[in-house]
Assembly symmetry: C2
């Protein structure tokens, strides 16, 4: 294999300016912000991930408190952390029980401490392309789920967002394939990129959907359309896309590299490796994992929560 024409870009490279931004912002605060991680999960991988979050927090100037609890005490611990004024942000390491009960617990985190941006309030704003919490003042920015926001920052770094276009339309003309339509990442990400002007093809095990704001971005927010599975088969769509994003949480899944056109931008956000290494011979830019960007953005979200709180307190004072 000769030297590839494209480049592999590591998450650490992209994360760097955001880590610096976070360090500088913490330095300007009069206190050291605290993130609480709630672990009620026996999976050693979850424990490892929690420890890694902790190390990153401490290295960037935050206090990290890992609270390990029994599943049945998780709700009580969460409510306690919600009420504790010394806690600025809360995250829970899911899965704990499984789908529905976990979602109840997730939504129990106060929106004011939801660093991951997963509260339905934030989802609602994202889906409806609402960018502030306090219209018409528009001082408090709505949070964005951190993996989706990390992806936006990655796409900006990679030159996919075009700054010459109007703000809000900077993905106009770009075709993006997203393999994953989870409620945590895939669906909000598809909506967000479509809201920014892209034509998004959202793939899950059942079907392919298109997310767009209409041909000439005439809509304020995206519209979702189920696509005909023959006319819009993956084999036809994928080679036409400017960007291919995967997030399939399975070590056995590999995206078929022969569907990646030469020069395509390729990003994997799964902790599994969704591409064989020969994708490097085809990708224009290849980002094999994004974790380091996501954690920097998580902490940036925590600072956003603190900002929003300070703005609210100022309004109350006046």
């Amino acid at each position: 294999m000769s030297r590839p024409a494209g480049r592999t870009i590591l998450a650490s490279t992209i994360a760097k300016p955001y880590q610096e931004e976070v360090i500088n912002a913490v330095n300007r605060l009069s206190f050291r912000p605290t993130l609480v991680g709630l672990l009620a999960n026996d999976d050693p991988a979850a424990k490892m991930y929690a420890n890694w979050t902790g190390k990153t927090c401490e290295s960037l100037g935050f206090t990290y408190k890992l609270i390990e609890v029994n599943k049945n005490e998780l709700e009580t611990s969460l409510i306690k952390a919600n009420k504790d004024d010394s806690v600025n942000g809360i995250m829970v390491y899911f899965p704990v029980f499984g789908d529905k009960q976990d979602q109840y617990l997730q939504q129990l985190i106060s929106p004011e401490k939801d660093v991951e941006g997963l509260n339905f309030l934030y989802y609602h704003n994202l889906y409806h392309n609402v960018r502030f919490l306090d219209p018409p003042h528009n001082q408090q920015k709505s949070l964005i789920p951190c993996t989706s926001l990390a992806m936006v920052k990655i796409l900006e770094y990679l030159g996919v967002y075009n700054n010459i276009l109007h703000y809000g339309n900077r993905l106009y003309g770009k075709k993006v394939l997203i393999v994953n339509r989870s409620e945590i990442v895939g669906r909000p990400l598809a909506a967000m990129l479509a809201n920014d002007g892209a034509t998004v093809y959202s793939v899950d095990i059942n079907n392919i959907q298109q997310f767009t704001r209409g041909d000439n971005l005439s809509e304020h927010r995206h519209i979702v359309k189920d696509l005909d599975p023959e006319e819009y088969a993956l084999e036809k769509i994928a080679p036409q896309c400017d960007v291919i994003i995967t997030g399939v949480p399975s070590d056995s899944y590999k995206f078929p590299v022969d569907l990646v056109s030469y020069g395509t931008i390729v990003i994997n956000f799964s902790s599994s490796k969704n591409f064989d290494d020969d994708v490097k011979e085809r990708a224009g830019l290849y980002v094999p994992s994004i974790g380091k960007v996501t954690i920097a953005i998580l902490l940036r979200n925590l600072l956003r929560l603190i900002d929003n709180k300070q703005i609210r307190e100022k309004v109350v004072e006046q």
Copy 2:
């Protein structure tokens, strides 16, 4: 018509930094550079264009000498200007006689004074992706035909060149349609953009050709391929392109706007208007004319010639 999602970008906006660059470079010289324009053409449009060149030259700090001669004296005047040490750059307003004799005259301009970069030496370097005149020292940059170079600068401004990719590969993954395959602009432009990594579809009245450096840019320079006219009909290719560039010198020619996909980057370098205004409803970015960029680049080429001369003189001294 509602406010378009895309933007129209004027050449004056893109030209501005290059005008400033040129003014600053002239200020650093110990003399005022002189451009000679040779006009042997009765067309009032050519005279107008010559006067406009003159005004721009003077406004950016150059001396412009318009020499009006009879057709049959053009060769003599040209040779005289070649020999005149006070003349730094020469351009002739073509057409004068017609194809072959004009080409002879064009090539008679000394490469050292060829501001338009149209000498076969420069073409050869462009076609072979050779960027310097003096390998292995690589101090004297080869000139690039000024319209093609202007187009590169425009594509850089519009965010089509991706700086994250390796230098020389920054159009990797981009599909560009060029309607015009003249020896002055269309063919060198297609070659140049393909050399920078693009897949270029070059259209003229006879056929469509593809210019690429191979799927994964494995070649050092572009390869040209005639395309099957049915499989690669304009109707099929155009909607897939990221960029559509036209240069058809006819007021009656209009590129079919329905072949422009929403969000496409559209540039017209013809002095005729190759797009109806409704292209604005589809284009992501639309540049309706490029003349002001071209003239700034012409003067930048003149400064390049002066630079190269000074480097050569320094080498001789040593």
